[in-house]
């Protein structure tokens, strides 16, 4: 009897479509969120994350509609976020069918948002999205999609967010994101050590070995990736078999 390490595909959504940022090209269309979500649900994903990368006020209704369409196809947990500013934003996302909501920028500006969401919906429904860049021997938290430095130490902010009621940390290494050079295991292990809640590693995944490393050296409870799954170059079932053969507990039954 062991708690399985989770494999979580992520859908970055803009104007109702799954997109991928390509250097010098802008956004590339990767498909319909409900179709991709259904595929991952079928292929053995342990959870799905849907992020509104436009996070514009005008796009909010479209995003809620996307969550509704994706949630209809799911019988696994669904996490959604991007641009959550208020309690009402969070409520709308959960009402649309998400089980958990992620918060980042607005929580840095007003940490009480975490406490309010947690008191209303429970800690298990509140995920702190923590985007960080390495700064010497530590990491600094960033907001606004990785564009704005906060001056806050990532580990300290993670601990505060958990004390306020965040039930999970979605930890993204901005340095590694999109580089395909593997997760930052040192970072993940550091944060996993200071917070008593599950840590989801994100940023840099490209191989099965990257996942193996982040579950072992990185002490991650879950790991997230986007494009390696969208391109169908890596199947979730094959990854789980690879991990199981190396002693990582994964959910192989459906």
């Amino acid at each position: 009897m062991t708690l399985a390490r989770r494999i979580i595909p992520c859908l970055d959504v803009d104007a109702g479509r799954v997109v991928k940022g390509i250097e010098f090209e802008g956004l590339r269309d990767m498909g319909d969120p409900a179709e991709l979500g259904a595929r991952y649900n079928r292929e053995g994903a342990d959870e799905l994350v849907v992020l509104d990368i436009s996070a514009s006020v005008q796009g909010r209704a479209t995003f809620l509609e996307t969550i509704r369409r994706v949630a209809e196809k799911m019988n696994i947990p669904l996490t959604a976020g991007g641009g959550i500013r208020t309690m009402e934003d969070g409520r709308a996302v959960l009402r649309a069918g998400a089980d958990k909501v992620t918060v980042n920028t607005a929580a840095v500006q007003r940490p009480e948002l975490i406490s309010e969401l947690s008191q209303q919906f429970g800690a298990q429904a509140v995920v702190l999205s923590l985007d960080v860049k390495r700064k010497g021997y530590s990491w600094e938290a960033y907001t606004h999609g990785g564009r704005t430095a906060t001056g806050m130490d990532a580990a300290q902010w993670a601990a505060e967010a958990v004390a306020r009621g965040a039930g999970e940390i979605l930890l993204t290494s901005i340095d590694r994101d999109g580089t395909c050079s593997g997760f930052d295991c040192e970072l993940t292990a550091r944060i996993a050590q200071v917070v008593p809640v599950p840590v989801i590693a994100s940023g840099g995944a490209s191989t099965f070995e990257d996942f193996l490393a982040v579950y072992t050296d990185g002490r991650a409870d879950a790991a997230l990736a986007a494009s390696i799954f969208h391109q169908e170059t890596r199947s979730i079932a094959a990854m789980k078999q690879f991990l199981a053969e190396r002693g990582v507990p994964v959910r192989t039954s459906r």
């Binding site: 009897m1 062991t2 708690l3 399985a4 989770r6 649900n41 342990d46 949630a71 209809e72 799911m74 019988n75 696994i76 947990p77 959960l94 069918g97 089980d99 008191q119 209303q120 919906f121 429970g122 800690a123 298990q124 429904a125 039930g167 999970e168 008593p196 809640v197 599950p198 409870d221 879950a222 959910r251 039954s253 459906r254």
Partner: protein, 201 residues
């Protein structure tokens, strides 16, 4: 057959409704006593805070009808917080009484493990049950909770370990409960719900 899904004001009902609808069950959101009284079976779903849950039931006048349904042996399924609410009390809200179908206290997960317990875990089956019929012994279920009832509670038919052995599945007579989320536990979870639906038909 009509299943009343108790709507106490904070739960994520659509996923439970959708999962039951896929099994061909007719559901209705119960917000007032007569809906509990006329239902053939009751589902108590639940996410959120124990205090909000019991207050939600009280404000809608549902506490008494639920206890009457229990006494009458009406089929009932508690999910997550819905299971916890069937016990006498919880560490999460020390001043608030639960439905009290069972005398145990729901306890906080200890500090030596990650809390909330979030993710897919396996069970230790301690007794035959209707709910777990045909479920493989090594199946995984999705959990998301910070509190749990001790596995020593009499109705426990399957346990899970996270900090302490806790009741993952309970069953006594027509009363059933699961600490995991069957509506979020893939095909295996759907099978558990199917077992419940079939047991009340």
């Amino acid at each position: 057959m009509k299943i009343a899904i108790v709507d106490y004001g904070a739960g994520n009902l659509p996923s439970v409704e959708r999962a039951l609808a896929k099994l061909g069950a007719e559901t209705e959101r119960a917000v007032e006593p007569r809906q509990i009284e006329s239902a053939e079976a009751i589902v108590l779903p639940g996410v959120g805070h124990f205090a909000a849950f019991v207050a939600g039931l009280r404000e809608r006048g549902l506490t008494g009808p639920l206890r009457a349904a229990f006494d009458a042996g009406k089929p009932m399924l508690g999910i997550c917080l819905g299971l916890q609410a069937m016990f006498a009390a919880s560490d999460e809200a020390p001043g608030d009484a639960g439905l009290g179908f069972f005398p145990e206290h729901v306890r906080a997960l200890p500090a030596n493990v990650k809390s909330p317990h979030i993710g897919w875990n396996q069970l230790r089956h301690t007794r035959e049950s209707t709910l777990m019929r045909g479920i493989p012994a090594d199946a995984y279920f999705y959990f998301a909770h910070s509190f749990a009832a001790p596995a020593t509670a009499e109705p426990t038919v399957a346990a899970c370990d996270h900090g302490f052995p806790f009741a993952a599945v309970i069953e006594r007579g027509s009363l059933r409960g699961v600490q995991f989320h069957p509506e979020k536990s893939g095909e295996t979870g759907a099978k558990v719900l199917r077992n419940f639906v079939e047991s009340v038909q």
